[in-house]
């Protein structure tokens, strides 16, 4: 719904803009779509397969509340390797939490998934944002993942 609102508002803004034409914006959108469709569809299908192959339950045992910083780093590595897309990872995290995974460890998993997800890196970061931005974002994502994990451990106690 937020997306629909944003499209309507921005579309109206383009229509009302004295120097910009709607056809110009739609042309940019069309070229973007032609580029994206053959990437997104196989990406979504692969995401399902990857989620199936990853041994979620076994990983759950490694990241209990007692596992501390090591467990948080294991969880972070898992988060980095998980398929991208909130509709895949959040159900898995919810399942792991109810299977006694630690809260701080799951926070580390989510933050790592957001900062340094490998699938998103190859499918979206590099092709859409370019190597220069991706290299910087990923490097500092890797450096800050342990920092966020320590913060989580400190907060959960």
């Amino acid at each position: 719904m937020i997306l629909v609102g944003a499209v309507l508002l921005l579309g109206l803004a383009v229509l009302l803009h004295p120097e910009r034409r709607l056809s110009e914006a739609l042309g940019i959108s069309r070229r973007q779509a032609i580029f994206l469709v053959p990437v997104i569809i196989p990406a979504i299908i692969s995401a399902g397969f990857v989620a199936q192959i990853l041994p979620s339950e076994e990983i759950g045992r490694w990241v209990g509340p007692e596992s501390g910083f090591t467990g948080a780093m294991i969880a972070a590595a898992f988060g980095a390797l998980m398929p991208t897309g909130p509709m895949l990872i959040l159900p898995v995290v919810a399942a792991l939490l109810s299977a006694d995974a630690g809260v701080a460890q799951m926070l580390a998993l989510l933050n790592a998934w957001m900062m340094m997800n490998v699938q998103r890196l190859v499918l979206y970061d590099i092709p859409l944002a370019g190597v220069s931005l991706t290299a910087r974002r990923f490097t500092f994502g890797m450096l800050l993942t342990p920092v966020a994990a320590l913060l989580g451990l400190a907060m959960v106690g």
Binding site: H17, S29, Q32, V39, F49, L123, T139, V147, L151
Partner: protein, 186 residues
């Protein structure tokens, strides 16, 4: 597929990502078939179908948002307020914009590339991308709160709060772009 960009020299479409995605699909699908058999593959494909029905309309909206933003965002404004001279203000603009811009990576990453071309400083752009990654309000409200509950989701947000600021500052300090303003190459 031919691009009908008027005026601009015909840009060669970049097929690399599509080829990679296709190979990943075939590879992971084959592995899944070997490990679990056809029934599981069929089951995963049904789930994928639901996911696709969910994602593709969002993506269409995202592509429209990207097109509109590209023509609406004034280059001069970006260069002035997110450029090298803008200092902390550029970082803050990047962080706020990243947190509130709705849409998936197909909206955010092209916008990031566009900001860089328009003359934004690379630290501010990285802060923008990081902010979208860890503070994105759309995902937070729609996905995290509903799956994790308010407490856990809020805790997650708290642990992530310093990340965009710190990474933007680190990029600015340790890994700035040598050449600026950036030459528009494509």
């Amino acid at each position: 597929m031919t691009s009908s960009a008027k005026g601009a020299p015909a840009k060669k479409p970049n097929r690399g990502p599509a080829i990679f995605a296709l190979s990943l699909m075939v590879g992971s699908g084959t592995l899944c078939w070997i490990l679990y058999g056809w029934d599981t593959v069929a089951h995963v494909l049904t789930e994928d179908w639901e996911l696709m029905v969910n994602v593709l309309p969002r993506m269409a909206l995202g592509v429209l948002i990207f097109g509109f933003l590209t023509v609406l965002v004034p280059r001069d404004w970006v260069a002035k307020h997110m450029g090298r001279e803008a200092g902390y203000k550029g970082l803050m603009i990047g962080i706020v914009a990243g947190a509130i811009t709705p849409g998936g990576p197909w909206v955010i990453y092209p916008i990031a590339a566009m900001l860089l071309r328009f003359g934004a400083e690379v630290g501010a752009v990285v802060a923008f991308m990081m902010s979208w990654s860890v503070l994105g309000m759309n995902r937070f409200l729609v996905w995290e709160v509903s799956f994790l509950g308010e407490d856990m989701a809020a805790l997650r947000l708290l642990t992530a709060l310093p990340i965009p600021i710190v990474s933007g500052l680190l990029v600015r300090w340790a890994w700035p772009e040598r050449q600026w303003p950036r030459v528009h190459r494509d």
